[in-house]
């Protein structure tokens, strides 16, 4: 929002602070000046960022009011009279003296429209704005339209009260504020013909609607060059109705922005006068007195809402110590609240609270302030506080505590540290998560983070259970239509991005949340995806065994030893011959292997890509492995190699099972040292295996006969599964 410093200063004649100082002081009180732009002789323009709760400060007068509080200065009161300089009493007298009947206004929805003022001006002259209005519009880069429309916009900029001007001659009969009828149509000022909703509040004449209340006026009764007579509307509408209509019609206007945040119930007469004064400068006169229909229930909710209790003790309890050892005294609190337009009544000792005075108006000179002689110095002083009509955001004691902190200055409070006797508790899986991450990093995998969403086709392909993907109601894009049921769509996109940019060696992992269930209930699980291509892990192309090695390392970090690998029921995205499932304690914990060539082709991945998904929720059910040291043997280990020939159908798992079943305690370890297939020396359909075995005893040096006995046993079980010792 743009604010002219010169316009602010018009409302605070006593202001001597420099523009820079003013900008800083406002910002420190939460009326943020984001930028100061020099307009030369016209003084600077402030670019403001007003928080959504401070609709009262979204105009020049409101910001001037804040400045007046900061510097303890008087604010120029606003006039509700057509003669700006006349007193209130004079204004009322002159209003009554206007001849003619009052314009009829009927509020059919008193809960939605709390106040409606209507003023008729006749023989006005519609022309371009001149003088100060034209000048300020130019500086603020506000588009001028005509003196009538500009007057309403000027009023919004000045005091924040939206108003509307109708071409009176286009209206049939009086104004009726009512709900729209089903199917009723209205062409709004933006030229769009809209079908109204029965929930919309409209400002209508006897025949048809002429505006969506608090949002936008109608085309047919707009001001044109031919307009002679006008009706000025200045009203107060309920926040919710304006907000809903604005959303319903996708119409966010200056008016709706203010009404839906809570306008000042007392402002309409002042706004009506301001608009009229500007319009009458070009000629014309008021016909009939101002119509002011005021719903007292609405007034009781706003301008005359009940006083609230406030105590200095709460200020100290919530805010704490200040740099100034004296702290926030009763006098300080009273000055701040009174400056804001509150009226304070001391809550006596046991006596009934003093009845608060009348609600203060937009004019702070009318705010009831208490005599300084009554000011208390007690820490626990309590008050009944009547709230200003323009601050509907103030409702509770804490709101006043905040105001005191805000105006006093946040940076005048001390920096203290609270004492604490509790303990720091780790998340149950924190250690496991960091252990998994550490292992992956050490093995050369780089961590990545990808989108939470994926395309529907990917969701269908990668979901662990069919039909368990969750669609988004307002997706960011078609490719992000679903919550990801797996990290693999993201992983494959990231791998593709790298491979397409000539980064041929890639080993990535992501740890993140995956989603299942459906619109009724969404389940979230932690998952891990890995994906690799090229020479990322070793000096040759990444293979199934590189990925399996990583999976084995990860599973090996956990206490359970009962994991195994098989290739049953492989998912469709994996190469059926080069992929596996890892099972831990009977539950699937990982799928991994080569991406299915068809899937790779669909994604235009020319390179062999290895991927895997690990279900961390299942892995985390295990404890982390706690190393228990095995005593080191003092005796020499003996290494023996066996060169064996096996038919291709024999798997390492079968060999391993047989060796373990031997149950020789001295058989310390065994491993495949070399496997040869398709060599000249090897019969077709067979492979040769060089099996390396280490024997060692904890108690003594092994004797040659024992070693021979072990060897014979090994050869025997190898033969039992088709093995043949090569000579």
């Amino acid at each position: 929002m743009k604010i002219l410093s010169s316009w602010l200063r018009e409302y605070i004649p006593g202001l001597t602070a420099t523009d820079r100082q003013l900008a800083d002081d406002l910002t420190l009180r939460g009326i943020a000046v984001e930028g100061v732009f020099d307009l030369g002789a016209n003084g600077p323009l402030f670019e403001m960022d007003i928080t959504t709760n401070r609709v009262d400060a979204m105009n020049h007068y409101g910001i001037a009011r804040e400045a007046a509080i900061i510097y303890g200065l008087k604010l120029v009161p606003l006039s509700a009279s057509l003669n700006e300089l006349s007193s209130r009493a004079e204004a009322e007298r002159s209003e009554a003296a206007v001849e003619g009947p009052a314009f009829p206004v009927n509020i059919e929805e008193p809960t939605l429209c709390g106040r409606f003022t209507a003023r008729v001006l006749r023989n006005v002259k519609i022309q371009p704005s001149t003088g100060i209005v034209a000048e300020r519009f130019r500086l603020l880069e506000q588009k001028p339209i005509s003196n009538a429309v500009d007057a309403t916009n000027y009023c919004t900029l000045a005091i924040g009260q939206p108003t509307h001007v109708f071409d009176l001659d286009k209206l049939v009969g009086g104004i009726i504020v009512r709900r729209a009828r089903k199917g009723e149509k209205l062409r709004t000022l933006d030229g769009i013909e809209r079908t109204l909703d029965p929930e919309d509040l409209v400002v209508a004449d006897e025949k048809r609607p002429h505006g969506i209340a608090g949002v936008m006026g109608g085309w047919d009764s707009m001001i044109t060059a031919e307009t002679k007579n006008v009706l000025i509307e200045a009203a107060w509408f309920d926040t919710i109705t304006v907000r809903l209509s604005s959303k319903r019609h996708l119409l966010h206007t200056d008016a709706s922005h203010r009404f839906e945040r809570g306008a000042d119930f007392n402002a309409p007469p002042v706004a009506s006068a301001l608009v009229s004064r500007i319009l009458l400068e070009a000629g014309g006169h008021q016909a009939g007195p101002l119509t002011d229909v005021l719903i007292s229930e609405a007034e009781a909710r706003t301008a005359k809402r009940p006083a609230i209790a406030f105590s200095l003790g709460e200020v100290k309890r919530i805010l704490g110590p200040t740099e100034d050892p004296e702290g926030i005294t009763a006098a300080t609190a009273e000055t701040i609240l009174t400056g804001l337009g509150c009226a304070l009544a001391k809550d006596g000792h046991g006596s009934s609270p003093h009845k608060p005075g009348p609600a203060p108006s937009l004019d702070p000179s009318r705010a009831v302030s208490i005599e300084s002689a009554e000011m208390s110095t007690s820490d626990s002083q309590s008050y009944n506080v009547t709230l200003p009509s323009w601050r509907l955001d103030l409702e509770r004691e804490i709101d006043l505590v905040e105001e005191i902190a805000r105006v006093y200055g946040y940076n005048r409070f001390r920096n203290t540290l609270p004492a604490f006797a509790g303990a720091v508790v780790e998340l149950p899986h924190a250690e496991k998560e960091s252990s998994v991450r550490r292992t992956l990093l050490a093995l050369g995998w780089t961590e990545a983070i990808s989108s939470t969403f994926c395309a529907a086709a990917d969701a269908a392909l990668f979901a662990p259970q069919p039909n368990s993907a969750v669609p988004m109601g307002n997706p960011l894009s078609e490719e992000a239509g679903m919550l990801r049921p797996s990290l693999l769509p993201g992983m494959l996109s990231m791998l593709a991005l790298n491979l397409n940019r000539d980064v041929e060696d890639a080993a990535l992992f992501e740890m993140g949340t995956v989603f299942g269930g459906g619109p009724e209930r969404v389940d979230e699980r932690p998952a891990l995806a890995i994906g690799a291509a090229g020479h990322a892990l070793t000096e040759s192309d990444v293979t199934f065994y590189d990925v399996k090695g990583t999976i084995e390392e990860l599973l090996g970090e956990f206490s359970s030893r009962s994991f195994y690998f098989d290739n049953l029921q492989l998912p469709a995205w994996l190469h059926p011959g080069r992929s596996a499932r890892a099972t831990l304690d009977g539950a699937t914990v990982a799928w991994f292997g080569q991406l299915h060539p068809a899937e790779a082709e669909r994604r235009k991945l020319k390179q062999t890509v290895l991927v895997g998904e690990i279900y961390l929720d299942r892995l985390y059910k295990q404890k982390l492995r706690q190393p228990v040291v095995r005593e080191l043997s003092r005796f020499q280990p003996v290494r023996r190699d066996f060169s064996l020939l096996f038919p291709n159908s024999t798997t390492w798992a079968a060999i391993e099972d047989k060796l373990r079943a031997l149950d020789i305690p001295e058989l310390r370890s065994f491993a495949p040292k070399e496997i040869l297939r398709d060599a000249k020396s090897i019969p077709a359909g067979h492979f040769s295996l060089l099996l390396g075995v280490v024997f060692q005893s904890q108690e003594r040096t092994l004797r040659e006969e024992e070693l021979q006995q072990f060897s014979r046993a090994i050869i025997a079980v190898m033969e039992s599964i088709g093995g043949k010792l090569r000579v």
Partner: protein, 379 residues
């Protein structure tokens, strides 16, 4: 005791005139001169070896012969004095050997052989490719460690939330304009549910405040890291997906001054003890009073630079005292949160933004691209 000293000269064992310290020193000085003389020409490795054998040889070594002879006849009280002097002498001989060894090399042949094995030590070392931790995770862990030292445990919560936890219980009533500031991504097919049960992507980590308070009575100190989503257009500094770190402290007598002190301390831990903070009034529906926090620019120290737009300050946090209405919502399940008896503060910061500042990342989308050319820089 000199009468026991043998006058006999054993081969070329030098004569020892007596066992007083002066006499011993004199005798040892003579041997030392002899060592010096015999070490004059140690120019070849053969000469060095001969010298070594002459003096330190295990069987015929002269030092051993002399020490055996002298110690054998020495009175008990002199043995220690003699022993000490032999040790000094031995060290002197070894030193000479060492010096001779380094100056001659071992042999001309050895030196040549070693020269032929010379390598170019300026070639790059063999490096195993290391995995790189994601910069966001690095920053997050750094922040969690800072708050752990201040007594804050970690809490986490779901990324898909209900309207109640994401908005209503945080004092965003239905239809409130404050909801507009957090454009929400919603799960499909929620229209038939009551508003409070409708599912959406959480727009902030604050719902975890409510969830944690419902589970645990005060006192409470937690930090909440997590992923959040908003229906925002992406640009260099905005992404529909980003990461927050939220903090919450509730106890009796927690004040705004405590909030200030806590964040000031945490920022000093993060950016160094010379960092300063300042607080500005702001608005969040779930805190009151609410504040924005600026830190003195860590790049220029506050003197003004491009990174802080020459203001010397960078806005980094939002915070405030927990609004009593939030406690009222929590009280429905956990009665201990009586806003008349307890108070608390909450704060939140963007992990992405802190990470970008720290590493000079100018485009947030790089962090979510998986682009190794970017990620590998963090290895």
């Amino acid at each position: 005791m000199s009468e026991h000293v043998s006058e006999q000269v054993l081969g070329d064992i030098p004569h020892l005139s007596g066992y007083s310290e002066a006499e011993l020193d004199q005798a040892f000085a003579a041997i030392s001169r002899e060592v010096e003389a015999s070490s004059a020409a140690l120019s070849t490795s053969e000469a060095v070896e001969a010298f070594r054998l002459q003096w330190l040889g295990r069987k015929q070594g002269r030092l051993k012969a002399i020490s055996d002879a002298w110690l054998k006849s020495a009175p008990v009280e002199a043995k220690k004095l003699i022993g000490q002097r032999f040790n000094t002498l031995k060290a002197e001989i070894e030193q000479r050997l060492e010096r001779a060894g380094t100056s001659t090399g071992t042999s001309a042949l050895d030196a040549e052989a070693l020269a032929s094995e010379k390598i170019d030590i300026t070639l790059p070392g063999t490096r195993r490719r290391l995995g790189a931790e994601h910069p966001l995770i690095k920053t997050q862990n750094e922040l969690l460690a800072i708050f752990a030292r201040m007594g804050y445990s970690v809490s986490i919560g779901p990324e898909v939330e209900t309207d109640y936890y994401n908005f209503e219980s945080l004092n965003f009533p239905p239809g409130h304009p404050a909801r507009d500031t957090q454009d929400t991504l919603v799960i499909a097919n929620q229209d038939r549910k009551p508003l409070r049960d409708r599912l959406l992507m959480r727009t902030h980590t604050s719902p975890v405040q409510i969830r944690t308070m419902e589970q645990q009575p005060p006192p409470l100190r937690i930090v909440i890291p997590g992923k959040v989503h908003r229906n925002d257009a992406a640009d260099a500094t905005h992404s529909p997906m980003f990461h927050q770190l939220e903090g919450l402290c509730v106890d009796t007598n927690i004040t705004f001054a405590d909030l200030k002190g806590t964040l000031d301390h945490a920022m000093k831990e993060l950016y160094g003890s010379s960092d300063r903070t300042r607080f500005f009034p702001s608005f969040f529906p779930f805190t009151e009073p609410s504040a924005d926090v600026q830190i003195s620019c860590p790049f220029c120290g506050g003197s003004g630079c491009r990174k802080c737009k020459h203001s010397g300050w960078i806005e980094l946090l939002g915070c405030g005292m927990v609004d009593p209405s939030v406690f009222e919502f929590v009280r429905l399940k956990q009665p201990a949160y009586d806003p008349k008896k307890i108070s608390g503060f909450a704060f939140g910061m963007g992990i992405d933004r802190i990470t970008m500042m720290k590493y000079g990342i100018t485009d947030i989308s790089l962090m979510f691209s998986g682009d190794l050319r970017f990620l590998e820089q963090f290895a």
